[in-house]
Amino acid sequence: MIDKLSWMAIYPEVVLLVMACIIALVDLSTTGARRTRTYILTLLTLAVVAFLTGMAAVHGQTVYGFGGMVVSDPMGNWLKCFASVALMVTLVYGRPYAADRGMLRGGEMFTLSMFSLLGMFVMISGSNFLLIYLGLELLTLSSYALVALRRENAVASEAAMKYFVLGAMASGFLLYGMSMMYGATGSLDINEVFKAVASRKVDHQVLVFGLVFIVAGLAFKVGAAPFHMWVPDVYQGAPTAITLVIGAAPELAAFAIIIRMLVEGLLPLAIDWQQMLAVLAVASLVVGNLAAIAQTNLKRMLAYSTIAQMGFMLLGLVAGVVNGNTYNAQFAYSASMFYVITYVLTTLASFGIILLLAREGFESEEITDLAGLNQRSPLYAGVMAVAMFSLAGLPPLVGFYAKLAVLQALIASGQAIYIGLAVFAVIMSLIGAFYYLRIVKVMYFDAPVTATTVSAPRDVRFVLTLNGALILILGIVPGGLMTLCAQAIVATLAN
């Protein structure tokens, strides 16, 4: 029986699905080279969806629907809201780039992006292993198609192929892990799984066996080492606008399913998955930071930086349960949530600049392409510098508080090993500072190769400035977003 509440839980998804279909139809009669009508409709839809999810989040209720298949809670709603906004920003930045490269001959970029967002929404809402898996597949299938959108471009096609093969393997891992869980607990419902695991009547060995596959699958999706191999190739190979589609908003969804599956479903196994995540985090910090130093390609460098950043984010999840005590959980998980949100914010700005500098027939991909940007355009150089300093974790930018919150969660655990992890993370972020600083160096200290000034459409200019300003403003007043994350996580843990 489907009651009214069930629809309450999923109405943003319904709006998104209906509008995605309508926009696909409307696009058939759109002819402009820049698809302005499709573009505006998409942005409006996303704005409405962001508003709806934002309102639901402010309301702060937790609603289960369809017999516990989906859940609408503050954490999920905030993540959905931010994901919608992130996709809006992505499309604003990406449209001129895509138009210049013949990617807007049809409106697929917009509709596929909306479907990928729908996939994220389902992942975030899913309170059932199978539903989460379906959402994930919707997201990744849309992403494969998006990466392959420039079908005449060999590099992009190669990236799409790699992404597909490795992504499919990761999905296989995840599905296999889920089936083990189902076999052990007899349920796919996350709350039921939790009860079954907590009852300690289930064979621990089978659970851990399944858990390994689930964690590996998740690590693939967030791009944590040693499952990171696809990240640099896909980031570099995909058309930059699409890199941003798959690199920004989906991280929010990936965070959500980590919380749903590992925390809501398998918290009694925390001692096991915390160890696994700690290993992944350490490996990611090492691989990401060290490999990023050697890169000359900007997109590839940012890909390795993503790996390192995700490693740092995972560290927050490591310190939730200490000696079977969950008092630190809300601090730890909200630190990670804050981390991932601010990471998306800065990624949008940095890729926005790369997209802006790319012109028709010219990919601004090498680090040297940024040379002397400060002389060409102080504003955009400033935005990029702010993003880089924030990724490096320097105050007064928002990235600092993200790192601070994670370190605090680690140190608050009081365990020597976690404090050791904190010191390790600090040393790694010092190494990380080097390659972020190098970007600033190229922009500010080197002489420009071309004297052309950088021009941008008005919408891009406006959003990019706002994006950069937000990194700074959230750095000066981070309290609100931190409280928001904390309340969202507390509400999620209470269930």
């Binding site: 370190l407 605090q408 404090i419 600033v440």
Partner: protein, 491 residues
């Protein structure tokens, strides 16, 4: 808004305004705006002194608002006798730096001036912050403008210097961050520095904290053997950058010892005082000798800064009234004198484009006014009575003799080296016959440079002849600090 908030945010607001000015076609407008901004910022800090209440060690001009509720972080400002003069020094030097860059910087003037004004606000923030995270945010934020200042307007090897400066100091301060979070958890969820002062801590914890803070502050001061970044950075930094670096940024580290290491970990401070004293004496004597053989004027002054800062840390860790007050006086004095020395080198560099001592000779013949100023500052650098440099060093030496005769003797010998390298440089650059054609064509100070030098000369002489306003302000706070350090915090 309180006075301290104004002192922090007025220069930052002007700096941001300057950044919005855009390209160099309105350079003069930019310069005047920067000067007005610096003067207003200075004017805002003056009432801090005139309304400062003497004879109390408690914080004054306190402002406290909740900033990040989640971690109980407060926007908590206040000054006492330890920090008041540093705030004034910062806003004063910023005015001088703006004047010094007037005709020298012609490219991206708005960014240069903006960076210095923003930096000035951040540094005042460091001295005024009474919350651990607020302190850390300001402390780290200073790296960004300084990195850009060195990298954009620096010398030929500027990129190496900018990275060295940034990464070296970042390493130290990240360890401090771990210490701050540790204290937060130990104190039951508070970043309030003053409550940390009262927090009982076990011996092991104190040792850990002491060395974590040491990593941050010793690099910044810089103490031997982590001083190696300073000469490289000074050589490449533009004149204004060197002046601010030497005059104020080094003091951030010294101030950190007073505000964090000594009161938070008093037992560890006493236990490890021998190490601090030893490192300070090495800085004073050995680095003084190193300065003697430098051929580059900026490098020479940079090493002399390390040696002078050695007096500061020496004074702090002999734990008596004369030593600590002397150290603080020396901080302020060195702020004036080192800024003057670097700006003086800048005056020569702008004309000849060389920092080599050998490229000069007989400058007094062509630039008599400048040579007179340079003599005054050289004398202040050697610690001649009647100049600012004398007061602090004399107090530290007296304090050291009180504590232990041999330490005092070691510190006193350093005065001889100080006189030797400074005067020898003065002789080679200024005295004698005209060295070469470049020197022959030199023009004496223009009105702008004369103004800048006079302001510093007045400060140096005032402090040397009538140091009472300086010592009066700090007496109560120093006494309080020493009482605090003398008490054990072991549980």
């Amino acid at each position: 808004m309180g006075l301290l908030s104004l002192a922090i945010w007025v220069p930052i607001a002007f700096g941001v305004l300057l950044l919005a000015f855009g390209r160099d076609d309105r350079a003069n407008l930019v310069r005047w705006t920067a000067l007005i901004g610096a003067l207003v910022s200075f004017a805002v800090t003056v009432p801090l002194y005139t309304r400062f209440e003497l004879g109390t060690a408690s914080m004054q001009f306190v402002e406290k608002f909740s900033w990040i509720q989640r971690f109980n972080v407060n926007y908590h400002l206040g000054v006492d006798g330890l920090s008041l003069w540093m705030v004034l020094l910062t806003s004063f030097i910023t005015v001088i730096v703006v004047i010094s860059a007037w005709q020298v910087i012609t490219e991206r003037v708005n960014q240069y001036m903006g960076a210095f004004l923003i930096l000035s606000g951040f540094m005042i923030g460091v001295f005024a912050a009474l919350d651990g995270i607020l302190f850390y945010v300001f402390f780290e934020a200073t790296l960004i403008p300084m990195y850009l200042i060195i990298g954009i307007w620096g010398g030929p090897n500027k990129i190496y210097a900018a990275f060295k400066f940034f990464l070296y100091t970042l390493l130290g301060s990240l360890l401090m961050l771990v210490a701050l979070i540790y204290l937060y958890n130990k104190s039951g969820g508070s970043f309030d520095i003053l409550s940390w002062h009262r927090l009982p801590l076990a011996g092991g914890a104190q040792t850990f904290l002491f060395f974590a803070f040491f990593a941050a502050f010793a690099v910044k001061v810089p103490m031997w053997p982590v001083h190696t970044w300073l000469p490289d950075v000074h050589v490449e930094a533009p004149t204004g950058g060197s002046a601010v670096l030497a005059a104020i940024m080094l003091k951030l580290g010294a101030y950190g010892f007073l505000r964090f290491s000594m009161p938070i970990a008093p037992d560890a401070s006493r236990e490890w005082a021998w190490l601090m004293i030893a490192l300070s004496l090495i800085a004073v004597i050995y680095v003084g000798l190193v300065a003697l053989v430098q051929r580059d004027m900026k490098k020479l002054v940079a090493y002399s800064s390390v040696a002078h800062m050695g007096f500061v840390t020496l004074g702090f860790f002999i734990f008596n009234e004369l030593g600590v007050s002397g150290g603080i006086v020396q901080m302020v004095a060195h702020g004036f004198v080192s800024a003057a020395m670097f700006l003086g080198i800048g005056v020569l560099y702008d004309r000849v484009h060389s920092r080599e001592i050998a490229a000069y000779g007989g400058v007094v013949n062509t630039m008599p006014k400048f040579a007179a100023f340079a003599l005054l500052f050289a004398m202040a650098n050697c610690g001649l009575p009647g100049t600012a440099g004398f007061v602090g060093e004399w107090m530290v030496i007296l304090g050291a003799v009180k504590a232990n005769f041999w330490i005092g003797l070691g510190a006193a010998t350093a005065l001889i080296f100080g006189a030797a390298y400074t005067l020898w440089m003065y002789k080679r650059v200024y005295l004698g016959p005209v060295g070469n054609d470049h020197v022959k064509e030199l023009k004496d100070l223009n009105a702008r440079e004369f103004l800048m030098m006079s302001l510093l000369a007045i400060a140096v002489l005032w402090m040397g002849l009538y140091p009472k306003p300086f010592t009066d302000v700090m007496d109560a706070s120093v006494g309080n600090l020493l009482q605090h350090v003398a008490k054990s915090k072991l549980p």
